[in-house]
Amino acid sequence: MSLVLTRFREAPLSAWIGIALVLLIGLAAIFAPLLAPFPETEVVGPQYSPWAAPYYLGTDALGRDVLSRMIYGARNTVGIALLTTVLAFLLGAAFGLLAATLGGWVDTVASRVVDVLMAVPSLIFALLVLTITGTSVVALILVIAVLDSTRVYRLSRAVAQGILTMDYVEVARMRGEGLFWIIRREVLPNAAAPLIAEFGLRFCFVFLFISALSFLGLGLQPPIADWGSMVRESAKLISFADFSTWQTATFGLAPLLPAGAIAILTVAVNLIVDWVLHLASGLEE
């Protein structure tokens, strides 16, 4: 425990910035109903109000409060991205570890399937599947989780293969330990650091992917507040940005708010991942 605390105390400034931003967005997502001044989907005022109380970030084309939608958007977008990443991880890590441990035809079949899935860009695959399934949250989560698990599979398989050549695994095998015991007690603890870093990177990727699909109108559907769809809804306003007064300038900045929020969260997670990777490489020495 004290080791963890020391690590945190020694964390560089960039990691602290990342942690602070992720915490901020995480708290906004968890306490959205308490923090948001207005409901998520209700029309609460005139259309396109400027940035002034009680609408601190103005209102959108329907008269919904932008600040409230940004806060609820954190909850929806981040929540769904997190769920998808966890699913992708369970799927990819389970198959990767199994393929590495079992070897033989399980490894061959799983690796070839992953090769085919990775031969086509994820966006193209996702668009093809979403044509068939239609745009629903469940389809979105499953499609992206499966497509993203291929990357997790590759990494966990490679890491596990490295660990399986170690003497202590050989000893455990000779002792007569079962397959799952070896995976759980020998492989997983030693593969933790690269997998945690990968989790951060995967989250960024999934989060950007969902936002991109929502931006294309194929992800989360209105009236759900979501950062990607909010960019889509307010995109045209940018042409009307006029820097002569503060009020007209903020009006045109509407699409940059949700887009900027997406960018900030991705950068923040990347800063933390850099630090974790640095720690992991330091611990190995």
């Binding site: 031969a119 093809l128 991109a212 931006f215 887009a259 960018a263 991705t266």
Partner: protein, 318 residues
């Protein structure tokens, strides 16, 4: 047969095999569509005769593997069938749009590749200076930002605030090359910013890896200028990874173009694909996916083969 030819041939065979498997996957999309495609298209009120005629016209009575072969044969000849929503031939819809898409991707590549190589070499030359850190930081930011964020920032600066370039890239067959380059500058710049980062970091890393080697030290000891050591001695040996990352990023460009086209309302294949996904016009989606997937696979294959040719050491893996 020389070993290099053998490896290249096997890579080619692998690439085409992958392409074939992917085409099967794309074809089976229409099979997985819930409900009957004939009644789905013609509506519930269609008579039995119209449904039968529709099935006859699209070979829907044949078994699946035969229909796949017909579809593939037609697709290779550039015939993708007709659109479900407006019955127009897909080849007609796609031709000019595919041309626009490849034009935009090529335009972006022409800017991005030289910029990335020069920046990468400069960063390697002046490594650990403020210039190096600045470039690295900026490129890292460009990787983390979503494509549309980069695009709207550029629109805000160059179109709205300065008024130098149009925010919508509407092009048609009639306009000249100069005008076309001008109108598509912002989307090309967006794509450039997205792919430069990765290429530049790879160039920098590949060159820095070589700088500790004895022949580079020898070149320094001979009294050669630093930029000459890097350009003449280090760069040729760093070519394999650089060529690889350039080809991979060109493959990425072809996909990244989808989002950028939507932002700038550019009449390309990506925009058509996105519209067809919302209309669930499966034949168009299949055709567009096949073109994107084939380009991606072929560029990846090219990356593989070029890096083998550029690095003879890969011929004898130990």
């Amino acid at each position: 047969m020389s070993p290099i030819l053998k490896i290249i041939l096997s890579r080619l065979a692998m690439g085409f095999l992958t392409l074939l498997i992917v085409s099967v996957l794309i074809f089976s999309a229409i099979e997985l569509l819930p409900g009957d495609i004939a009644t789905e298209t013609l509506g519930q009120s269609a008579t039995e005769e119209t449904v039968a005629a529709f099935k006859e016209r699209f070979n829907l009575n044949e078994p699946m593997h035969l229909r796949y072969l017909y579809w593939l044969q037609d697709a290779i000849h550039g015939d993708f069938g007709v659109s479900l929503s407006n019955q127009r031939p897909i080849a007609e819809l796609i031709a000019s749009r595919a041309e626009n898409t490849f034009f935009l991707a090529g335009y972006a590549a022409l800017i991005a590749v030289p910029v990335a190589l020069v920046l990468g070499m400069l960063a390697a030359l002046y490594r650990n200076t403020a210039f190096d850190k600045g470039v690295s930081g900026a490129t890292l930011a460009a990787i983390s930002f979503p494509e549309f964020f980069v695009a709207y920032i550029l629109v805000l600066i160059f179109s709205v605030a300065l008024g130098w370039f149009p925010s919508l890239s509407s092009v048609d067959a009639g306009i000249g090359l100069g005008e076309r380059l001008y109108r598509t500058f912002l989307p090309a710049l967006t794509l450039t910013l997205i792919v430069v980062a990765h290429m530049m970091r790879m160039t920098r890393a590949a060159i820095i890896n070589l700088l500790a080697l004895p022949y580079v030290e020898m070149a320094h000891l001979k009294g050669m200028r630093r930029w000459r050591v890097i350009a003449v001695h280090a760069l040729p040996n760093a070519l394999a990874p650089i060529i690889n990352v350039v080809a991979l990023n060109l493959a990425y460009l072809v996909v990244g173009v989808v989002l950028v086209e939507v932002v700038f309302v550019y009449p390309g294949l990506g925009q058509l694909l996105v519209d067809s996904v919302s209309n669930r016009d499966v034949p168009i989606v299949q055709a567009a996916c096949l073109i994107f997937a084939a380009t991606y696979i072929l560029l990846n294959m090219a990356a593989d083969i070029l890096s083998i040719i550029a690095n003879p050491r890969l011929l004898h893996p130990r």
